[in-house]
């Protein structure tokens, strides 16, 4: 494993299908060059498990972001919807533990149009710059 990914302040989980089908990898890769950002591709955003997210915080991440497919575009039909429910659950857990729930963010592009996908990536970049 890439040693630089072990202790990252920011983790971005992204759906591989989104990266493949909508060509967002070139947009995401500049992020990985920043030392404190780890890109974590997952087979589907529905693979995101509350344990992954909590583990990411436990491992020292200050901000965790999930980029999923637009609504209705999930290859597994409901992966992005399930990701949204899990993110909500983890946000509640974070709040209960006294952490800022806004340090976890799910970003779903509005549609598969290039401008919406680009806007979603811009949103992540914006979040990263703020952190």
């Amino acid at each position: 494993m890439n040693e630089s990914r072990k202790n990252c302040d920011i983790r971005v989980f992204y759906c591989r299908n989104l990266a493949e089908d909508f060509g967002i990898l070139p947009m995401l890769l500049p992020m990985e060059r920043q030392n404190n950002v780890a890109l974590e591709p997952v087979p589907c955003s529905g693979k995101i498990d509350p344990r992954y997210l909590l583990k990411a915080f436990e491992a020292g991440s200050r901000f965790v972001c999930i980029l999923s497919c637009p609504k209705g575009e999930c290859k597994l039909i409901e992966g992005n919807l399930r990701a949204a429910r899990r993110v909500q659950a983890v946000k509640e857990l974070l709040a209960e533990a006294g952490f800022n729930p806004e340090s976890l963010r799910l970003i779903i592009p509005e549609s598969k149009d290039a401008k919406h996908i680009e806007a979603a990536v811009e949103l992540i970049l914006g979040c990263l710059n703020k952190k």
């Binding site: 494993m1 990914r5 202790n7 493949e20 997952v42 087979p43 992966g79 429910r85």
Partner: protein, 455 residues
């Protein structure tokens, strides 16, 4: 009976995370937490590993593509919550010849030294281009011996490199009258070739040489600082004469015979190899070289196993078969040794190349894949190597190469056992132990459907 040749393998885990093929996505919310959970039944403990690593390690999502694709859990989950996904990064590995499956299985063999077995059976087609158009005849597999080929049964994989006399002559005292030409025998029908495009540091070459020594074989080396290694076959350029070498290789050139004669005058015990590009003139040039007294010819295809500089490139198996048959026709095939190289990626390719007429093969790119190369070709473009192959750790590299060759050797034994051949030297040119798809198609379907159209 001589001691059996055995390659001692031992697990050597990768230094970098291998790119896995399959991942499982599960809909946890719908789980009814039943008592016969399929996750507990996973034969490869994928789910247990996930749980353990989430507790202990920080590299928590690296195991996402560790699923072996047996589909047991996907099929058996009573609520159908699990979905099988293929890793797109995996599909992007290599190219149409060096497929992701070849790269992945080579990684497995280098790590474990074991024969790769697919958990999901074989879902692919039964023939394809290149090596896949040759089917080996496994007819003897119906009658396996009691303790098998890894037990008492002896299958010899030793080959000779050098010119062999066709007949013996004795003097009146009954002693051998002719001086036998120099010959080298190696216990596996493979030597290590030069890398076609990888950048090889002296450190990496030393590891390859040490692995070759451990295996009892030889390796081509183009770095003069390593010519003195016990198992180095110096790749000679210019008028250089390798005085100590038992074997040496020259690239083909118009004056190669003169240069070899000059080298042999100072080192008569040396076996000279000429490395010949497999092109449209390969047959005539091979006959010419053999006639001029060259001991060994190395027929080198490109790294995809195709002939070079040809209008209609042929696969290495066809080209080697042509050269082999030309020598058979001349009646001097047994005198010379043919080494074939280029595009040999799997153990079966080694056996199939030998069936097509080579005495042994030269292995190149698989050695780099054993060291976790991803065939990304970054090094060709001057980009950094993702696995920093040039700075490879010596012991790790040696063991990974030994493991790979151990797995290849076992596969060769399995194939030969199944083919009913007990001696790899007898496998050479033994096309009766193989079926060629082109021939089968011509014989079976051409009378019905006519000739296949050329694309």
């Amino acid at each position: 009976m001589p001691a059996k040749y055995h390659i001692h393998t031992q697990p050597m885990p990768p230094k970098h995370k291998p790119i896995g093929k399959y991942g499982i996505v599960d809909w946890r919310e719908d789980c009814s937490a039943c008592h016969n959970c399929v996750k507990r039944e996973c034969a490869y403990d994928v789910y247990d590993k996930e749980r353990d690593r989430l507790v202990n390690a920080l590299q928590y999502v690296d195991y996402l593509y560790e699923c072996k694709g047996c589909l047991c859990c996907v099929q058996s989950c009573t609520k159908g919550l699990l979905t099988w996904e293929t890793n797109p990064e995996y599909l992007k590995l290599g190219d149409e010849v060096w497929t992701p499956d070849i790269i992945s299985s080579t990684w497995f063999q280098a790590e474990t030294g074991r024969i790769p077995v697919s958990g999901a059976g074989y879902p692919g087609p039964f023939c394809g281009p290149g090596f896949d158009s040759i089917l080996t005849d496994m007819s003897e597999i119906v009658r396996p011996t009691r303790d098998g080929i890894h037990g008492r049964e002896y299958i010899n994989t030793q080959v000779d490199i050098g010119r062999k006399p066709t007949a013996l002559a004795f003097n009146p005292e009954g002693k051998l009258a002719l001086k036998s030409p120099p010959i080298v025998d190696i216990p596996i029908p493979a030597i290590f070739g030069l890398m076609p495009w990888h950048k090889t540091s002296p450190q990496l070459l030393t590891a390859i040489l040490d692995a070759a020594k451990k295996l009892g074989t030889y390796a081509f080396v183009d770095d003069s600082s390593l010519f003195a290694h016990d198992v180095a076959i110096p790749y000679v350029s210019g008028e250089f004469v390798p005085l100590e070498a038992r074997l040496a290789v020259w690239p083909d050139s118009p004056d190669v015979v003169r240069r070899i004669e000059k080298a042999k005058s100072t080192n008569p015990e040396m076996i000279a190899i000429v490395s010949l590009c497999l092109n449209q003139n390969a047959v005539s040039r091979s006959l010419e070289l053999a006639k001029a007294g060259i001991d060994v010819i190395h027929l080198l295809a490109d790294w995809h196993g195709m002939t070079v500089n040809s209008d209609k490139p042929k696969h290495i198996t066809h080209a080697v078969r042509e050269v082999h048959l030309a020598f058979v026709e001349q009646g001097n095939r047994d005198e010379i040794t043919l080494i074939a190289g280029g595009g040999i990626a799997l153990a079966e390719h080694m056996a199939k190349t030998i069936i097509c007429g080579a005495d042994l093969v030269s292995v190149d790119v698989p050695l780099m894949v054993a060291l976790e190369c991803r065939i990304c070709k970054n090094c060709q473009q001057g980009l950094p190597c993702p696995i920093e192959i040039e700075d490879v750790e010596h012991d790790y590299a040696v063991q990974r190469i030994v493991n790979l060759m151990g797995a290849w050797h076992n596969q060769l034994l399995e194939m030969m056992g199944a083919m009913g051949i007990r001696e790899v030297r007898r496998l050479r040119g033994e096309v009766g132990r193989a079926m060629f798809f082109d021939d089968l198609e011509r014989e079976c379907f051409e009378p019905i459907f006519g000739k296949r159209k050329e694309l």
